[in-house]
Subunit: 577 residues, 2 copies
Amino acid sequence: MSNLFLRTLREDPADAEVPSHKLLVRAGYVRRAAPGIYTWLPLGKIVLENVARVVREEMNAIGGQEVLLPALLPKEFYETTGRWEEYGDTLFRLKDRKGADYLLGPTHEELFTLLVKGEYSSYKDFPVVLYQIQEKFRDEARPRAGVLRGREFHMKDSYSFDTDDEGLQQSYDQHRAAYIRIFDRLGLDYVIVSATSGAMGGSASEEFLAVAPTGEDTFVRSTESDYAANVEAVRTPAPAEGSVEGLPEARVHHTPGTATIQTLVDFLNGAGLDRDFTEADTLKNVLVKTRAPGSKEWELLGIGLPGDREVDLKRLEAALEPTEVALLDDADFAANTFLAKGYIGPRALLDNKVRYLVDPRVATGTSWVTGADRTDHHVLDLVAGRDFTPDGTIDVAEVRDGDASPDGRGTLYTARGIEIGHIFQLGRKYTDAFKLDALGPDGKPRRVTMGSYGIGVSRAVASVVEQSHDDKGIVWPREIAPADVHVVGTGKGGEVEEALRIGGELEARGLRVLVDDRKAAPGVKFNDAELLGIPTVVIVGRGLKDGLVELRDRRTGERTDVPVGEIVESTVAACGG
Amino acid sequence: MSNLFLRTLREDPADAEVPSHKLLVRAGYVRRAAPGIYTWLPLGKIVLENVARVVREEMNAIGGQEVLLPALLPKEFYETTGRWEEYGDTLFRLKDRKGADYLLGPTHEELFTLLVKGEYSSYKDFPVVLYQIQEKFRDEARPRAGVLRGREFHMKDSYSFDTDDEGLQQSYDQHRAAYIRIFDRLGLDYVIVSATSGAMGGSASEEFLAVAPTGEDTFVRSTESDYAANVEAVRTPAPAEGSVEGLPEARVHHTPGTATIQTLVDFLNGAGLDRDFTEADTLKNVLVKTRAPGSKEWELLGIGLPGDREVDLKRLEAALEPTEVALLDDADFAANTFLAKGYIGPRALLDNKVRYLVDPRVATGTSWVTGADRTDHHVLDLVAGRDFTPDGTIDVAEVRDGDASPDGRGTLYTARGIEIGHIFQLGRKYTDAFKLDALGPDGKPRRVTMGSYGIGVSRAVASVVEQSHDDKGIVWPREIAPADVHVVGTGKGGEVEEALRIGGELEARGLRVLVDDRKAAPGVKFNDAELLGIPTVVIVGRGLKDGLVELRDRRTGERTDVPVGEIVESTVAACGG
């Protein structure tokens, strides 16, 4: 450490809010070069490489082949797929000296598709999985949290190419298993959540989220089981269909001034009826308009859901994708006079051929209070499947803490996470764009199908720190720690020399060792050892005159005095060797 | 190989002119993504990493500490040093979403200076050597020759920081020694040439040039010794000063129509004088104008050199740097009427206070035919040190094949090379710009002094191929080869299975093995083995039924039949294990 390019800081950087940002800067792992752009100092570079090594080993284990594509890419390929425009301001664009347009790669689907097209042509060539570990560039609107969300960052991106859907599923499953091994080895606490509604075909896309209160992504998980999902992907369990036999008949009530659910419930509970009402007894009908891809026409869509729930717009967009969705404006109400604002019911929608979808809770046999399509009027005991038949279900009501978990075990609660991995069955979007075919055994061309899979390597480093630190500093898992052992020599009676000697012996035993041989006060050295977070610490200090050195475990804080003659063996054992 | 993402090509790529470009593409090591921008395929990535590993090991051995800086850099730092403008069109410039200016790093002196300034402040902190291995970006006007001269390329750049000139010299010497070890390990044939005239203080800058007829750099080397230098750096040996005693007196001759050296020599040889003249007997005086940095005034400079030599403009610029130099125009002659075009002599220059510098060959005691400062007149037997005393010497005459080597051994000849490394004592240019000081033991700040050192990692790969190939393909040195052994199985009688078995055993012995288990004709496999260039080849083919396999050396072409039971030991031995 007397020569190491490292200066720890006592103060948190002024712009840092999250623990990983504060600690990685204070402990001298990274330095800011520009907004969202960081330099990795010597110890940080080692940690970054360690993460990359784990990723590389597991990618190789599933047959991934490592390549390296350029970061500077010509516009034309991204124009073919429309991403030159789609990326908007997030793409770094530039021109070369001849005025030709280039971009800095945010992800490389286009180039990999072309690469495979250039080399492979027969079904016998497939499947193939290619990957790279490389800097990526995205011009985030609000780069934040240090290397957790940078504008230049390190990423492993891989791409699978298969000739049929079963092959794609297999490549996807292999990646999923590899990602589990990778994040387990990194010591991360994470969940795997479906990233999409499943409307596109099961688990077409899943995200790996490192659980952290500082995460940007929200997800729900169960109190009792491993269930976890993006809010968009939560499937509400539908009650069993009930019989409509013997249910009271629907009847219209005059309910003046009850355009909101709350005023309606209050009115009904004060109306001297034979029962009490809650918001959950009412059926709220929300109108939006939708436009199919390529169409110019907007169409009305009615959504029926229990009155105690709001429509979650993120869930709605995900459920309808790729169809666009928008809220109604006054002109829409003016054009559709059958819409009695505040008193809309299923009847008018169905009579006027408005597509009408209901929450899964609005099952056949359930009975509702809902609008009577006339101002100041509602209908009671309107039964689904008897008095109206919706066009289908749509699962877009807000998910709440305390909702039953879809797997039937426990209830849901909201948590936050950091996206550290994403696996995605792309299908043929890119192979269609570039006409990547493989000649089948029958001599006919088949369109290749593709998956893309990413891991944020620099973000994984920060995520580990988010999860693994205390008030004194970082606590690295051994697999990616910058060293196995931190040997601290303190005092002027030969302790530093002894620390160097012990460090040398530990290195000879195959351990990675950092020796603090600086001229500094013991307190400074101890604080730095806590801050740096190397898992095993050996203190060669005051006890040396009695033949003792101290072995510390950074994570547990456990301290043991060990005779100096046994310290090498004890340390090797503590390091799991 | 049946799964390897590799397709070899039979034809050279249309745009390829040099061997490394042709062979790296044909053998499937790289693919072009855009002009001057390449993708590294699996085997190419391994070779690139192998070169990086050698570089890393030797940099670590001299105490270099590896860091990683971003590629995307803010304009401001490069504005401080003036390089934002100086780089001209070679710099890739771009704006972020907020309109702030950025560049893609061509080299990182600014950032490293700031990095050290951020961490270090005391003389005790120094010296320090930092390095990175990273993509660099330069918008070359004519990207050519594949990865030999790309626009996005891999480079190791390191920077030394010292508190005094002796320290800088030591850091420089350590880098020089490390570079020698690196290029030796890469098996390169290279020369080390002074990159500058030496006017700035000895070997302030040296280039490592891989000798190759396809190289872009010209240098001279000796027929008899290790001497090699950039043309700019060749020092002409000056003859010993002679006595002026007894030399004939200078006298003016009427030499009508002899404004050129050739017409002058012809005239003199036809004038019935008592001796013969050659061009080398004449003293030619060339006028240029110079402007010191920061000055607006141009000043005349006269250069006297033997009439058989031209002024080499590259040598002139290097000798005068940082002073600007330009040729005279008619206006200059009009303004200086004492300049008799075609008949200019030292006398008029010195009389009119024109700075007058001569070639080292114009030593005291040498006698010359030169202009008499009057049209149609020359002076004979004008003796340096007697009849005129120049203001000094300047070594800017062209260097010719056959010139004596400056080290006194052999003669010079011109060769071509590829710049693979450059070491440079920068001094305080950048530390002045950013005010990087270290507090000395006396408590006073000292300006830090700096060196910068580069190795073109991707270019080194291509340079190896330029030097190490034959008409069949690449011949890799083992240190950077994509594998140690290429085991080729040919035939349908179990040879492929046996190849896989042998390959497995060789791997168990610690060798890196590529097995050709493809369904392909033997000829295709043999050709690919030659093309790929792995140093040791094992052929499991026809001989297997007699219990024999063949061991081939790719470089020598030597072939040996080995009993199958001995092939593992023989191969390990052939691989130097």
